[in-house]
């Protein structure tokens, strides 16, 4: 262990003495970094880290997966998607299973790859599964911008974008959780900046720090949060300077605004959160596969016994779910939080028994 980390841990112990503190790491990438580095184990017992709903695949409701599966079964449709989605179990299948049965489902690392696929397959509709938070959304609207420029008419999206701040408001207000502070996402903040979080400090008296992803950065963030809690001076601090600035990425924000507008959105486990989703504006509805193709009403059902919902709300730790590690493993996942590499259950499962080596 580096001295730097040791000093941070000493500071954390000193500032948290005699207090019980609940901090939520909002972002799935933070959840993985915390599990991987064993930070949770080296913190004093009175400082609890609760994993939040920051894994886009995990909070995407079952109905969306079922719609994607329905679309993948249509002969004139090619699905393009990020890799994490394809293993998520739907009500009676998964995209991975449909692919093995012959569906044309292509994993891409960038939504922009859908452009070439659309150009090469003009007789088919190419549908990108548009799941993601503010970091990812401009890469999708940027792709739509290119499709407009090149007059590509067979590219569509199945839209389930979500934005982070409205979900944080719900969590901040939740009496069960009793959150004292938030470890705020790094790259979501690169896009949206600092201002959209200020209500959390001002109106809800929550400590807030935007954090980088390395263990020392996360420890520094925890120390900054404890300092806010200790002094009762709440504000949004930025640990991740250089990558996040106050205004965010204005060009990305205006691209989002051009194509999309706020809509109420369902989060797995949390339910409907007002204005927490983004849908295509009417003038761009030809990109919306749900407008182009009539998708029947899905009879979606969550897997029996799965407590992903409570994990996503931070109400239980993954290991408190009766399926965890028994029926539901990283190799054979039952719930979305075990499927996604950034899901809380996957992070806990893969890095379990990770003890501080010194």
């Amino acid at each position: 262990m580096k001295l730097e980390s040791k000093e941070l841990i000493e500071g954390i112990k000193r500032l948290s003495k005699g207090k019980s503190v609940n901090l939520m790491e909002v972002c799935g990438t933070h959840t993985v970094a915390i599990a991987r580095s064993g930070i949770r184990e080296i913190l004093p017992e009175n400082v609890r880290l609760i994993s939040g709903p920051g894994c886009p695949v995990c909070v995407t409701p079952q109905e969306y997966i079922d719609k994607a599966i329905y679309l993948s079964r249509q002969k004139d449709i090619i699905i393009t998607t990020f890799g994490d989605l394809i293993r998520v179990p739907g009500t009676d299948s998964s995209l991975e299973r449909e692919r093995s049965l012959g569906a044309d489902i292509r994993v891409v690392y960038s939504p922009a790859q859908s452009i070439d696929i659309a150009k090469q397959n003009t007789e088919k509709k190419v549908v990108f599964l548009a799941v993601g938070f503010e970091t990812t959304i401009p890469t999708i609207t940027g792709t739509l911008e290119m499709a407009l420029r090149e007059n590509i008419r067979n590219l569509h999206i199945l839209c389930a974008h979500k934005v982070v701040p409205p979900a944080l408001e719900v969590l901040a207000k939740s009496p069960d959780l009793n959150i004292d502070g938030f470890i705020l996402p790094g790259h979501v903040s690169t896009i949206i900046g600092i201002k959209p979080y200020e209500f959390l400090a001002r109106d809800h008296k929550k400590a807030c720090v935007i954090s980088g992803f390395a263990p020392t950065q996360i420890l520094e963030t925890i120390l900054l949060l404890l300092n806010q809690i200790h002094t009762k001076q709440f504000s949004v601090l930025n640990q991740y300077t250089g990558t996040v600035d106050y205004d965010g990425n204005k060009r990305a924000m205006s691209s989002i605004k051009k194509f999309l507008e706020p809509v109420d959105s369902v989060w797995r486990g949390i339910g409907t959160i007002p204005s927490s989703g983004l849908r295509l504006r009417d003038e761009f509805s030809s990109f919306d596969i749900e407008v182009v193709v009539s998708i029947p009403l899905m009879k979606s059902k969550e897997p029996a016994g799965c407590r992903c919902g409570d994990v996503l709300k931070g109400k239980i730790y993954p290991s408190d779910c009766p399926l965890f590690g028994r029926v539901c493993t990283y190799e054979n996942p039952v719930g979305a939080c075990m499927v996604s590499s950034e899901g809380s259950c996957a992070a806990y499962y893969r890095f379990a028994n990770r003890k501080n080596s010194q």
Partner: protein, 74 residues
Amino acid sequence: MCLGIPMKVVEINDNKALCEQGGTSVEAYLDMLEDVRVGDYILIHAGFAIKKLSEEDASETIRLLNEIMATENL
């Protein structure tokens, strides 16, 4: 899913940059940034550059990413 990787721009063609880092090269779209030049460092997410970084911040992030990959324990 929201991971971003810092890379150095080595070539620009229209809205596309060829970028390198640690022996890996990738293409990234520059549509979300203004004024990117060869030699700049950019943060790439899902095939798009989302932030210009100073050389110092880029190197620091790369060092920390390597730290995450190399060290399973603190």
